[in-house]
């Protein structure tokens, strides 16, 4: 098997600049200026700066960094909620930046789904309808929608809440709905943007366990964003460390712990050690 076939997602030299003076900023970045210098000179914010990485099929790939490091921006490139200023993004060998709107919609409906930090659930729909949303959008029959939705509601442990409205649920339960909604569409890839960060620690651990439990049988490609190294180490097969929109280090949890690439990674690791002691 060639390495190319193993790469489910490949990000090649992606830049993302927020603001109107994109071209100017790109030249400055190629000249090697830092994020703060660009901001001072042009007023433009650099979200992602010349970033390349590849994610293998069936792994839980964690992207880590402090807030403002560009991790949420990066993950939104993978389903093109945000389009890059330059670069390529390949999924299953296809450059998704070449897709037009209908093709992109098909891609989002069948290949990639997402779980959000603030859940992003529909407040005017009940749990069943929320979980079935991805199926309904892609035009599956009502029977099919209901059956699949009920299955995934029970898989995340929410049986009996099918008719409840989102406001009636606790945070943990809401994120189970979010997770069930993503799983129900049965896409190869699931993006999880700080999915558990809004939950309190006990619930969070529970959710992490549940995710790992599900992943054992599902073998999805999961891209998981977090700012918490404990969480990253617990669930990640591999971890990418981001700083100022640049990739600092990629490796297994062990590699990160044992040989941090620089001070930035080192600080995360030290805090983790301190907490263990």
């Amino acid at each position: 098997m060639t390495p190319v076939a193993l790469d489910k997602i490949e990000v090649r030299n992606v830049f993302k600049v927020f603001g109107s003076r994109e071209k100017e900023v790109m030249t400055l970045l190629r000249e090697g200026l830092k994020k703060e210098q660009v901001l001072a000179q042009t007023g433009c914010v650099v979200g992602v700066n010349d970033l390349s990485l590849s994610i293998r099929a069936g792994e839980v790939f964690v992207i880590m960094g402090l807030s403002g490091s560009g991790k949420s921006t990066l993950v939104r490139h993978l389903n093109r909620l945000i389009d890059p200023t330059s670069g390529q993004i390949l999924v299953d060998g296809e450059n998704i930046l070449d897709y037009d709107m209908p093709a992109l919609r098909q891609f989002r409906r069948h290949k990639i789904s997402m779980v959000f930090q603030g859940f992003g659930l529909l407040p005017h729909r009940n749990v069943l309808e929320n979980v079935a949303y991805g199926l309904k959008v892609r035009g599956e029959s009502k029977g099919q929608c209901n059956e699949r939705a009920r299955h995934w509601i029970s898989m995340v442990g929410l049986q009996g809440y099918e008719q409840a409205f989102v406001q009636q649920l606790s945070g943990g339960m809401r994120q189970r709905v979010g997770l069930a909604r993503a799983l129900a569409t049965d896409t190869d890839i699931i993006l999880m943007d700080e999915a558990f960060s809004a939950l309190d620690p006990l619930i969070r651990a529970e959710m992490q366990d549940q995710l790992l439990e599900l992943q054992r049988t599902l073998e999805k490609t999961i891209v998981f964003i977090t700012h918490d190294l404990d969480e990253a180490l617990r669930i990640g097969n591999r971890i990418a460390m981001l700083k100022d929109g640049q990739l600092i280090q990629v490796g297994t949890p062990q590699e990160i712990l044992l040989s941090p690439a620089d001070d930035y990674v080192e600080r995360f690791v030290q805090r983790h050690r301190a907490r263990l002691i």
């Binding site: 389903n79 909620l81 919609r105 992003g120 659930l121 959008v137 892609r138 406001q167």
Partner: protein, 283 residues
Amino acid sequence: MFPENLTFSIAGWVNDGVDALVSNYGDVFRHISDTLLWAIINLETLLRLTPWWLMLAIVGAIGWHATRKILSTLLIVGLLFLVGAVGLWDKLMQTLALMMVATVISVLLGIPLGILAARSNRLRAVMMPLLDIMQTMPSFVYLIPVLMLFGLGKVPAIFATVIYAVPPLIRLTDLGLRQVDREVMEAINAFGANPWQQLFGVQLPLAMPSIMAGINQTTMMALSMVVIASMIGARGLGEDVLVGIQTLNVGKGLEAGLAIVILAVVIDRITQAYGRTRHGEQK
């Protein structure tokens, strides 16, 4: 005094423009007017032919469906009965017909314009000052030219009413759509919802309380135009208010004025109740 050589006037230019418009395109406008008139007259005939007790029963049923409160429903029906009891039933129906047509047109114009405004910041920037003008320009200023183009009576009355009453609906539709949670929009986008599914499945339902508040505002403002409408020959409750003013018949004016207030209260209670129930369902 303001220096003479700095003054100018657009009055002559506007006057000539209106004259030319009336002379050259008057008949075209009258044709449009006749089409609209057909709808108003049919509705008015229907309302006026409906027996009063049936009308009260229908309003009662709507009131009950909206409020689910016996007391509110009885109050709504009782107040309308009172209007009939002072002999203003027929005029009430005429006013109601005028208002309903004006409101329907306002909704047909206001919600799509509100949606467009919510989608485009540039359009919104153009539209908002226009809405301010529509609301603050004294209505007689545009009433007379509209009247010359569309003829005397119900049609210009509806035009004037719509011009005055549609801005809050556009504003509140725009606001409602813009207030939909950004992450919810991102989520449904991420699941591949097309623009149609986004708008009708999520945005409009979530903006509904705001839109209903807009419709409520629109009907209230439409009612406040009733007297002005009667100044250009639209029949109804406004006519009696006008007669009351012009003949110093304070009592008659007050009766008709109170009837307008009652109609406002009834419509207000019903539309507000609908706005609330939608909201309540979310909980």
